[in-house]
Structures are given as C-alpha cells and as structure tokens.
Amino acid sequence: MKANYGYLDGSGEYFITIDTDLCIECDHHGCVDACPEKLFEIMIDDYDDEVSSIKEDHRKKIKYDCASCKPAGERPPLPCVEACTPGAITHSW
C-alpha cells in the first residue's frame, strides 16, 4: 500500500509516500537514522508488519521539517531516499 503522510495547502502538495509493500522487505529501515530531523519511526501496520512511517507530530509540517534537505539551488540526494534500499520512499515536492 502507498501510505501518504503530509498535507496539501494553497501552495502545493507536501507528501512523503512510503510504499509499505516494499518497506516490509527491508530489515534495517535506514531511513530512521538517515533523516537529520528524525521524522521517521517504525510502526506496526494493520497487517502486523513492521514499516517506516512519519511521526504524527511532524505530518502537518513536513514542508518545513524537510526544508534543510531541500535547498533552493542544486539539490543533493535526499538522505531518507538514499538510505531506503528497497526504494519505498518518494517525496511529492
């Protein structure tokens, strides 16, 4: 399942999408330690699988929390996306 964490407002759509079918295959969940803002955590989903998710208190402000990894100029690879070996994480903006 594609789990979308984030929100949309007048300025755009701000979602971090985690493909849980890919995420459950990962045994190290590197995204949790890779994120400098510590947005990720491990949760047990409805199917009793361990998957990464975005912490509840960050979901309404990810545009600002992710800003340090998204400079206006040349953008380096996002640490969470780079650390996600199954390729489960995508950002909408």
């Binding site: 399942m1 594609k2 079918d21 409805d46 199917y47 009793d48």
Partner: protein, 295 residues
C-alpha cells in the same frame, strides 16, 4: 398544550441477527469486530471464521457506549458473553474508543478485508459509502489494501446527506432509491459540492413545482456523480463492489453503475457490516498468530 408528533423520515431500521442453527460452544476461535462509525455502529461475531451474529444500530454521542450497546445487542439471545470471545478488533472513527477491543485497525483495511469475504477474492475495487465519508479502496486477492482515496470534507455524497434529503422531502430513507428511479426523464443533478447548498437548491426546485421523485432523482444523480469523480482518481478495476448504507439505495447505485459502465457485485451479506466483519476476520488472524507464538 398539544404536542405534534414528528416522524423521523431519516431513521433507518436498526436490527440484530444470529444463526440459530450454529452451536458456538465447541468452537476453537470466537472473534468479533466492532465498527463505531460516525452515523452507525456494527458488531460482528464470527465462530471459527464463519459469520455467527451481528447488530447494526445508530451511533450515539458516546463512542464507548455505542460500542458496548452494539456488542451487547449482537450477543443478545445467543447465550454467549463478551468473556467467551477470544479477540476483539475495534474499527471505524471510534476505533480507539472501543473499551473491550484488543486492537484497533483502520476501517480502510477492515472494509477491504470484509469486502473480500463478502464478495469473494475477485473484488479489486471497493467503494465504502459511509455515514459521513466515502472511501474508494483498491485491494488484492487477499483483501489487502493496495491504494485508497477518501473524501471527508463534506456530507454531500454520504449517508448523512441522504438522511437530510429524506427528512426534507418527508420520504422514508428506505424508499428514497426506488422513488428516485420512478421518473420519466432524468433531471440535471443538484449541487454535489455541499449538502447545505444541495438542500437549499432542492427547496427552490420544490417551490418551482418539481415533484419529490424528480428532486430525489436529481440528488441521487448528484451523489453518484460525486462518487464517480472520486473513483476516477483511483482508477476502478473490476470486480467492483459497494459497501456501507448507501449500497442499499437503488437510485444511487443504478446511476453510479450507468456512469461507470460497470455492474457492482451483489452479496448475501448486509453491506453495512463490511467494516465490522473485516475487523472480526483480522481478529481471527491475530488470535491464531498469538497462539502460534505461544505454542
């Protein structure tokens, strides 16, 4: 002072049922799902993976109390008590407020699982037309959610919107669907963005001389149209099934099928119990998993 009795046209039938031919006493696994929704609450009890009892009633202002009442009503005349149930899953808006639940699971996952049981493994798209929201769910052959979309911004296109119209037109909610189909020509749909706007538009149409049937047809058509736009965004894949209270409204379903050009599956089960049924199925898997761990 005299009192005027007010008929509640929106009020749908509340009921409970249990399988009198089934003996639950020798069962290995008894599980339950309790779906506390925004408008209705259901409790489903399964015995060894088969439907045994259920109740369907209106949700009150107190979620834990609604959960208790729904469960007690499902248990009525069965000889079973809550202590006989091995695992209970709470779902729906009030899922975290089911005091006796062992676990809470989202209604999206539960509707997909329940829909899979009710309609079979060929179902790939489930539309849950609930009391105050609508969910378009894509699932695999095991009833596992692969994608979903929901509208939750307005009561238009939901069960509560239909209740408002039933009351406005003094037509029993159970007759709305059939009456709306009894029109010679399909009218233009009313506003589908807001139930308050739709209500005021309907009042104007009645003043212009439209019949109740024609106004109901315009609202059912608006509701179908709104839901189709939600389904278009998720890309409907066959087989297609509808759960929730609105699945019982022939006027909405016929128009929805015509617009989608897809027939929805039918089931012998009550469409309103899909969420609680999914919860009971999840409960069965979870209790079996716990037993395996303990063995």
């Amino acid at each position: 002072m005299g009192e005027v009795a007010v008929k509640e046209f929106w009020r749908w039938k509340e009921y409970n049922w249990h399988d009198e031919n089934k003996d639950w006493k020798g069962a290995a696994t008894i599980t339950a799902g309790v779906d506390v929704g925004s408008v209705s609450s259901q409790a489903v009890i399964m015995v060894d993976g088969e439907l045994y009892a259920y109740s369907n009633m209106r949700t009150g202002s107190d979620s834990p109390d609604s959960a208790r009442k729904a469960m007690n009503w499902a248990l009525e005349n069965t000889g079973m008590t809550l202590d006989d149930i091995h695992y209970v899953v709470g779902t729906g808006y009030g899922r975290v407020n089911v005091p006796f639940a062992n676990r809470a699971i989202t209604e999206i996952a539960c509707h997909a699982r329940g829909g899979n049981y009710m309609y079979g493994p060929t179902v790939r798209t489930i539309l849950d037309m609930g009391g105050q929201d609508c969910k378009a769910i894509r699932c695999d052959e095991r009833g596992k959610v692969t994608n979903f979309l929901m509208n939750d911004k307005c009561a238009a296109g939901t069960g509560r919107g239909m209740e408002v119209f039933a009351d406005l037109l003094s037509v029993s909610i159970e007759d709305v669907g059939d009456m709306s189909l009894d029109v010679e020509e399909e009218p233009e749909p009313v506003s589908s963005t807001c139930v308050v706007f739709a209500k005021s538009e309907a009042t104007s149409l009645l003043r212009e001389g439209w019949s109740k049937k024609k106004v109901l047809a315009a609202y059912c058509s608006a509701m179908a149209h709104r839901v189709v736009s939600l389904l278009d965004r998720i890309d409907v894949e066959k087989d297609f099934a509808i759960t929730g209270g609105i699945a019982k409204n022939s006027g909405v379903i016929k128009r929805l099928e015509d617009e989608l050009k897809i027939k929805s599956l039918t089931s012998k089960y009550d469409t309103q119990i899909a969420g609680a049924l999914g919860g009971a199925l999840f409960a069965k898997s979870l209790v079996e998993k716990e037993r395996k761990k303990g063995a």
